[in-house]
């Protein structure tokens, strides 16, 4: 490129020089006689050698013309040189193109991501090495296979499949669609994120769809192992707890067994301990499930007021014991489309916290406001409040405020963490305002209809 630039610069100078010479020579020729008179005129003498001067001018002109011719020739030569340099650039472009084509082929063939080309009906062409490995067949086997026949139907319903085909035929790009694929060697099914892009605008060939398959079989497998583990853990951990629960129940309710009141009281304590264990395991499993993203909400109509009353009923013994004045205010239609369990867990957590951390005789007020598209449920207490310096941590896992730990040793520090996760899962959020020794107000904001419903 530098050569080109220099060439252009030279050319411009040469053209300027030759034009100046030409103009100068024309001027000299036109005004030669007048110039001679001016130059040779001496006052009091006659002009004698005018003819000689004219000849000298002619010689000068010849010299100028020769110079001019030389300059023009140089300019023409430079111009030709410029042209030949241009020719060498286009040769370079061809080399570059070939090189990049070679690079592209190497990349396509050896990329760890499986690529293949496909026509409108799904016939495979040009699978790269990774695609051959992924599909588990030879080049010939793949070439005689239809891509659509490899997609497992149970995973993608018939309707989704026909929609997929229509999209491909109409050259609508498909991006990262998760699909289960049967390999040609009939071994274990594999999972891939499939993207299909059409090359229609650049080429009229029949195999115009570029398919990329990102292998996610390993991720799928580890996900399955984790879910299996959780299911097993939840089953195995709960079975012995159920045994304890039901045997104590049997002992406490059986009319056939005689027991002293002390034994009964101890059994009740064991029962309470066991219940706490069950609750803890349930919470831990829920936390793992939500973190793994395997907790799928189920949407039904939820009546918030019913949920609140139900929970207050459950907590009534505690409320009476601690002489807490509970007030419930609600306005508007209280029905939401939400996951019932999640909403219940959130409100349960907010209410138990309010009752637990409010001193004897305090107030707890529940105010629910329902608007056209959203609602808010406020739980205000006159409790111990959250220390200012700890307020930014209250939604973190296993966090318990320093003053809360002094009031009650019983608590997992998972309640608010879980509530926030649930609320966000349902398209809402939890906010709070707190002042130490005055009280705390938690606000649960939810849309009328959860986004996934």
């Amino acid at each position: 490129m530098a050569r080109n630039k220099n060439g252009l610069l030279d050319k411009r100078i040469i053209w300027a020089a030759s034009w100046s010479f030409f103009i100068l020579s024309v001027l000299v020729w036109t005004f030669s006689r007048q110039l001679a008179i001016v130059l040779l005129y001496v006052p009091g003498h006659e002009i004698q050698d005018l003819f000689l001067f004219e000849r000298a001018t002619l010689v000068l002109l010849v010299v100028i013309t020769v110079l001019f011719a030389f300059v023009v020739c140089t300019a023409v030569l430079a111009h030709m040189l410029q042209k030949s340099t241009g020719a060498s650039v286009s040769r370079e472009t061809v080399t570059d193109l070939m090189l990049s084509r070679e690079q592209f082929r190497k990349l396509y063939d050896n990329s760890p991501v499986p690529y293949l080309l496909m026509d409108d009906v799904g016939n495979i062409r040009n699978p790269n090495r990774a695609a051959l490995r992924f599909l588990g067949g030879t080049l010939e086997e793949c070439a005689s296979t239809n891509f659509y026949t490899l997609i497992k139907d149970e995973e993608k319903s018939k309707q989704t499949m026909s929609m997929l085909r229509t999209k491909v035929e109409r050259s609508v790009p498909i991006s990262q669609e998760e699909m289960c694929i049967y390999p040609l060697n009939k071994k274990n099914e594999r999972y891939a994120l499939v993207s299909i892009y059409s090359l229609e605008h650049t080429s009229p060939i029949p195999f115009k769809h570029l398919v990329t398959l990102v292998d996610i079989s390993k991720e799928k497998e580890s996900e399955r192992v984790k879910t299996d583990f959780l299911l097993l853990a939840s089953h195995q951990l709960r079975t012995p707890l159920t045994t304890v629960k039901w045997y104590i129940d049997y002992l406490l309710t059986s009319t056939k067994i005689e027991m002293s009141s002390v034994v009964k009281e101890y059994l009740e304590q064991i029962y309470i301990g066991n219940e706490r264990m069950i609750e803890l395991i349930t919470t831990l499993l829920t936390v793992s499930r939500i973190e793994m993203g395997t907790l799928a909400p189920e949407y039904t109509t939820v009546h918030v007021n019913d949920v609140v009353h139900d929970i207050l009923e459950e907590l009534s013994a505690d409320i009476q014991k601690r002489k807490i004045k509970v007030q419930v205010k609600s306005d508007g239609n209280d029905s939401l489309i939400m996951d019932h369990t999640m909403v219940r867990i959130i409100i349960h957590n907010l209410l138990t916290n309010a009752i637990k951390y409010t001193p004897q005789g305090g107030d707890v007020t529940i105010t629910s406001t329902f608007k056209a598209h959203a609602c808010s449920i406020c739980v205000a207490d006159t409790g111990h409040g959250i220390p200012l310096e700890e307020q930014d941590k209250i939604f973190t896992k296993m966090f318990r405020a320093s003053n809360a730990r002094k009031v009650s040793t019983n608590g997992t520090g998972l309640g608010l963490y879980l509530s926030k996760a649930f609320a966000e899962n349902l398209g809402g959020g939890i906010f709070f305002q707190s002042e130490q020794e005055k009280g705390t107000t938690f606000t649960l904001a939810l849309p009328r209809v959860a986004p996934g419903a």
Binding site: L230, L231, S234, H235, R238, T239, L241, T242, T243, K245, W246, Y247, D249, Y250, T253, S254, T255, K256, I278, T282, R289, L295, A296, E298, T341
Partner: protein, 124 residues
């Protein structure tokens, strides 16, 4: 003692089968017990109990398989089934509902007395 009513308990956890059986007997309800799905299915088809308490996760044949097999039997189609399980995961619940069962209970969530109440309410 009203022994005209009977319950079949199918669960692989022996201690739970034992306490449930004891409780039902105290209430005057006859019980049949099986510790795996296959034995449970055979016993059900042989004894025709009034209700079946069925665990889901069991070796050999799980609760869903037992239900599927019962569906193929003329009597089995009509018998009320209460599924008892300890995996309260929502997928399990969803699966249970889709296979048309009568009721679904999570063991850790229900007291022994309430199990008896549920069963009795099904007799009527």
């Amino acid at each position: 003692m009203d022994s005209s009513k009977s319950v079949l308990i199918i669960d692989d956890e022996e201690s739970l089968v034992s306490v449930l059986s004891r409780k039902f007997n105290d209430e005057g309800i006859a019980t049949y017990t099986a510790l795996n799905g296959r034995d449970g299915l055979d016993l059900a088809l042989e004894k025709h109990p009034d209700i079946i308490l069925l665990d889901i996760m069991m070796p050999e044949m799980d609760g869903f398989d037992v239900m599927r097999n019962l569906q193929e039997d003329e009597w089995g189609k009509t018998v009320p089934i209460i599924l008892l399980t300890n995996s309260s995961s929502i997928d399990t619940v969803a699966k249970a509902v889709s296979s048309g069962m009568s009721e679904f209970l999570v063991k850790t969530d229900i007291r022994l007395d309430d199990v008896v109440k549920k069963v009795k309410s099904r007799f009527k």
